[in-house]
């Protein structure tokens, strides 16, 4: 218990500890290091670190609001995915995937669907294929011997068509048409925004003081 309180005391600002540390430690010893006091000791330590509560609150709210904007604003990408049962035994999915996701095969996909038009104007096809394979296609095994094929693209219908054709090329029998959904940014942006806002709120008064 004593160790916990000693660790909690490290939260306090150095200058404060220099002035009151000894007597504070003596008080904690006198109270018998009560577990119930630990939250109070920690909270006060954190509060003492906060130089300007108003700046902290404002920056935190701004961070959450920014995170919420990222969360709410729709991304200009659709995620089409299709699930299928692995068909007959002996189908080597890895081998098939290597064949389907190779340069010539994906190059054909790109040309027949006229994918990544703008990018192809500026970059060689090899680069576009590599980007497509690395960022936009995912083939993965799911529980229950099922396979998932995902393709991300800014056009909903094209995304679904390509996902379906990729699955067919992989030798999968589809039970249903691909599902295409707008790709929203993750809700994690909100707590992330809060954390960044808090960090900024703690840093700003220190920076202002330094200047």
């Amino acid at each position: 218990m004593r160790t916990l309180f000693r660790l909690a005391m490290r939260i306090y600002p150095k200058a404060w500890l220099h002035r009151y540390g000894q007597e504070y430690a003596a008080l904690l010893k006198d109270t018998g290091y009560r577990l119930g006091d630990l939250p109070d000791v920690i909270t006060k330590g954190v509060m003492m670190r906060i130089e300007s509560p108003l700046t902290l609150v404002v920056c935190s709210i701004a961070g959450v609001a920014l995170g919420a904007c990222f969360h709410i604003l729709p991304a200009q990408t659709y995620r089409a995915f299709v699930e299928a049962q692995l068909p007959v035994a002996g189908l080597d999915l890895k081998q098939r995937a290597l064949g389907v996701l190779c340069q010539p095969s994906l190059g054909l996909f790109i040309q027949s669907y006229n994918l990544y038009r703008e990018m192809r104007e500026n970059y060689p096809l090899e680069y576009v294929v590599a980007k497509m394979r690395r960022e936009d296609i995912r083939v993965g095994l799911l529980p229950g011997n099922r396979v998932e094929v995902v393709f991300r693209y800014p056009d909903r219908l094209v995304a679904a068509d390509v996902a379906r054709d990729l699955a067919v090329e992989l030798g999968l029998k589809l039970d249903r048409e691909p599902t295409s959904m707008k790709l929203y940014r993750t809700w994690l942006f909100m707590p992330l925004g809060l954390l960044m806002g808090m960090a900024l709120g703690l840093a700003v008064p220190k920076l202002v003081r330094l200047h």
Binding site: W16, Y20, Q22, E23, A26, L27, D30, T31, K44
Partner: protein, 95 residues
């Protein structure tokens, strides 16, 4: 009345005390247990404002005394509280 600063000042108005003695005294006369963090947060704030002052001591336990400024502030605060108390009681009586 649960303002830790005021409770510490009230405790020191009687006699000089160190942290643990203040904590025990406040618990006794106000029925409020100040956590160590809250108590020392208040002590350091009052010390910075010049309302209390640490006394020389050979012990790790630092005794504190009320300064003249602290005494004046306490008197002012208590009269304000007394005013609110009287008004509240009077209004309750009307009900």
């Amino acid at each position: 009345m649960t303002d830790p600063g005021l409770l510490v000042l009230s405790s020191l108005a009687e006699s000089d005390k160190h942290g643990y003695a203040i904590m025990r005294d406040v618990e006794e006369f106000a029925g409020v247990r100040l956590g160590p963090g809250t108590l020392y947060g208040a002590i350091s704030r009052l010390d910075e404002r010049g309302w209390i002052r640490g006394l020389k001591s050979g012990d790790r336990r630092q005794p504190y005394t009320l300064t003249a400024q602290g005494r004046a502030h306490l008197a002012e605060e208590l009269s304000r509280i007394e005013m609110v108390l009287r008004a509240g009681k009077r209004r309750l009586g009307k009900v």
